[in-house]
Amino acid sequence: MKKLLKLEHFSELIKDGDKLLVGGFGLSGTPLSLIDEIATSGKKNLTVVSNNLGEKGKGLGKLLVSGNLKKAIGSYFTTNGDAVNAWSKGELEIELVPQGTLAEAIRCGGAGIGGFYTKTAVGTKLAEGKHQMTFDDGDYILEKAIKGDVALIKALKADTLGNLIYDQTGRNFNPVMATAAKLVIAEVDEIVEAGEIKPEEIVTPHLFVDYVVVTKYVKEGGRYVEPATTN
């Protein structure tokens, strides 16, 4: 399989200062193994675009502990106390974006559209400095598209071409992020032969996917856990 990448080689694809699009809603649909690799890579000044920064010490929360981040762009950071602390101390820049605007900005980034007008956030603090325009049914603000250097996404299965399907609501931001970065790496639970996933069931077609990495996590009781290390 041409696109298969070993987990230990993944962080070589990341450069200091890169903007990473990272899939997930909380810890669901999050590329946990890829994040772990970044946490031990010593990479600096990364910008992460993701709905949240995981939870305290979990998922993207690990990158706050290991100090890889310069900036986070997303919709909800208050559930991770480390993100709030890092921001208060001036160690982390945060750009807050309404969740739907975040999703649409990434979709535009992948679709070759420079920006879009939305009613969301008109008249609020989050509209400050943004161009406002009146359409037939009211006022809208201009939001610019978001693109990344690298997208880290989590899917349930890839086939040997790199076609992807997702597990339930673990889908979330992953399919749009897969369209909006120069380099796209998918962490998956399983790789199957091309043809095993029916064409009409494929959510992310292989043309979006550059590399596939098999997760080191295992799912137990509906939750991803790190495999037990030898005692």
């Binding site: 669901s28 979709r107 399919p175």
Partner: protein, 217 residues
Amino acid sequence: MSQQQRIKIARRIAEEFEDNQIINLGVGIPTLIPDYIEGKDVYLHSENGLLGMGPTPEEEFVNMDLISASKKPVSVETGASIFDSSDSFLMIRGGHVDVAVLGTLQVDETGEVANWAVPGQNILGVGGAMDLVAGAKKIIIATMHTSKDGTPKLLKKLTFPSSGVRKVDMIVTEHAVFEFKDEKMFLIEVLSDITLEELKEITPASYELSTKKLIRV
């Protein structure tokens, strides 16, 4: 007591739902509502990409990749569908969700809502609040009448940051139901043994009595 009051609010809001509606429930009191939707075929939409959200599953069926917007495990109803975040917010922003039930920090007498940030505190979370305020066809606010220390939430003017220029349609508290029409607030039901004078005291927002509809429950 407080939980009983929250349940009363949830129950009253569930009465507003109609068959076949698409409903999005926010965090807080709205999460109690599914238990009180009796005999109505509605479809619950969850912003993280699910239409047809079902109740909390038994532990053996928990999958943390099947969760609600509150990041709690859920199940799916027959005929449910799953989609990505951009389609989910297309549904919200594009007016395809019939009713959004939201918690709030403040609402003013025109129906403008503040439900995402408190001045002087870290403003680091907005989630889907502004998208729902901008896009849902009908917005019902589920809230205790005042905050825990008794500070009024239904005000003449917002003192917290606004969630958007779109006005809400209805407020349900443990004491009363208010409706908005043309940016005017009307008291349509009293839900507790509070007197109208006492209600006025804890409600700085100006409102009119809807004489046609005012019901004491």
